[in-house]
Amino acid sequence: MGKIRGVAYLTSRWIRRQPLWLVQDLFIVMGFAILMFVWGGINGLKNVLVAWFISGAWGMGVNLVAQSIGWDKQGKTMDMFIASPVQPFHYIFGYFISSLVFMVADFIYMLPLIIVLNAWAIVIASLLAIAPLLIISNLVGLSIVMRIKKPTNISAITNPIQMMLIILPPVFYPASVIPRTARYFVLLIPTAAGAEIARQLSGLSAWHNLWYPIMVLLIWVVVGIIASSHVVRWGME
């Protein structure tokens, strides 16, 4: 635990020194809540809760952890970590813990909405859905950043992936609005599958086929583990 604590300690310094990033999240949460309420009323607000859990989980791995590790590679602090008793598990888990502060902050921002809507079922369903999604996003982020030639390009790669997989597929809107045949293709996207699981578990979806998105995420977890075990190297290159 000590090594994980050490990584979390070091990797959380930037959040402590630049807390305005957390304030930015507050405005995004508020802005989207207003937007969804204006267009979709109470149902829109409930859907935005699901979307925030999914986008937070996906962004943590693909964006936050990947970019932070990219900076470690660029600044050579990663070489210091490799040439030490720190194992990849300590390193990744330490980053994961320090990045959790963003999810916790988002949850706190959403809390008034959750209480007013009495949306605890959505919270529990979303937490269940993001568990595999966190694993997938961290494995994908890790696979990208560990093989990238120029770590300074990491934001240019992960930001579009993050936006593309959150804004385009049915994350902020339900998959049931998509024609049935196309829905099966769209739900192959992990963020869309995660959102659909949360919506079906909490009764927000008009579609009832829970096993399909679950199977999609399980396949993504397996593919992510296989892919990352092939590309991630901890020294000895």
């Binding site: 070091l10 930037w14 210091m80």
Partner: protein, 296 residues
């Protein structure tokens, strides 16, 4: 023997050889300097010994463990300060050293005690709460040196730790390294600065074009060339010998002993003439080539 490079060779995936045949022994309680020009293979050698790289040929051995077979045992024994290290701009010196010690398995109390000790040793204590973004490049470099020295790792690698440091900061780093060597650490550092190698090194390994070209104590290395003295001449009008090193308006003539140097100096017509003992730099130029190849 603590660290051994045995016929180490590394070929990168693009086909370029980083090193071709590096051999040396680095013993406990001394500073071993890997000396060579840019591109000689010093950083690759450190990468191979510190488990960042896998050797293509040969063996890297730390405390009797082959790095390729015992990577985690080796990593428990080593600490690395990489070349061009840039500590996170959000870290303060205190954060950096304390966090690195936590990472290496020290308790909270131990890491705080050791942080204080090493921040004082590297003259960073007064700025311990200043984020690195507000510190100079030299101060940032010293943070990285403090991190690895505080780690208690018996083998420490420092890749050009004093490059870019001003004179005062360089002496602070040198003093701290000497103290740590005295405490029993095996320190391996790279440099292309001959003076640094001569002052700091107990043992010097000269690397050129990916191969070990000479090694020994600075004194032993200086004895490997057939000269003991050199005559440094400014604005020469007449030289008594043909063979000299030409540095424009300055020339250097080597002599096998002091008497010969004096004898030669009397025959020279120039604005100024000085006789000096040969340094490690002269040895390096003689053995590795460089300017020596430009002998007239």
């Amino acid at each position: 023997m603590v660290v051994e490079a045995r016929h180490l060779a590394k070929r990168y995936s693009n086909g370029v050889w980083g090193v071709r045949d590096v051999n040396f022994l680095a013993e406990k309680s001394r500073i071993t300097v890997l000396l060579g020009p840019n591109g000689a293979g010093k950083t690759t050698t450190v990468g191979l010994l510190s488990t960042l790289l896998r050797p293509t040929k040969g063996n890297a051995i730390i405390e009797g463990y082959l790095t390729v077979d015992n990577v985690w045992k080796v990593r428990n024994l080593i600490a690395l300060c990489p070349q061009d290290i840039r500590v996170d701009s959000n870290w303060t010196p205190w954060d950096a050293v304390k966090g690195y010690l936590l990472i290496r398995g020290f308790s909270g109390v131990e890491s705080m005690e050791k942080s204080e000790k090493y921040l004082k040793l590297l003259d960073l204590w007064n700025i311990r709460k200043t984020p690195a973004i507000a510190l100079s490049g030299g101060q940032r470099k010293r943070i990285a040196v403090a991190m690895v020295l505080a780690s208690d790792a018996p083998v420490v690698f420092l890749d050009e730790p004093s490059s870019g440091l001003d004179v005062e900061a360089r002496y602070i780093v040198w003093k701290s390294l000497r103290e740590e060597a005295k405490r029993g650490k095996t320190i391996i550092l790279t440099t292309h600065d001959m003076k640094e190698a001569e002052i700091l090194g107990d043992y010097v390994v000269m690397i050129g074009k990916g191969k070990t070209v000479a090694q020994g104590t600075p004194e032993e290395l200086k004895q490997q060339i057939p000269y003991t003295h050199k005559i440094v001449i400014k604005n020469a009008r007449k030289l008594p010998v043909k063979e000299h090193i030409d540095l424009g308006d300055r020339k250097i003539i080597y002599a096998s002993e002091r008497e010969e140097a004096i004898e030669l100096a009397e025959k020279i017509e120039a604005k100024s003439i000085g006789i000096e003992e040969v340094t490690l730099e002269d040895t390096y130029l003689y053995i590795v080539g460089g300017v020596a190849n430009g002998k007239n």
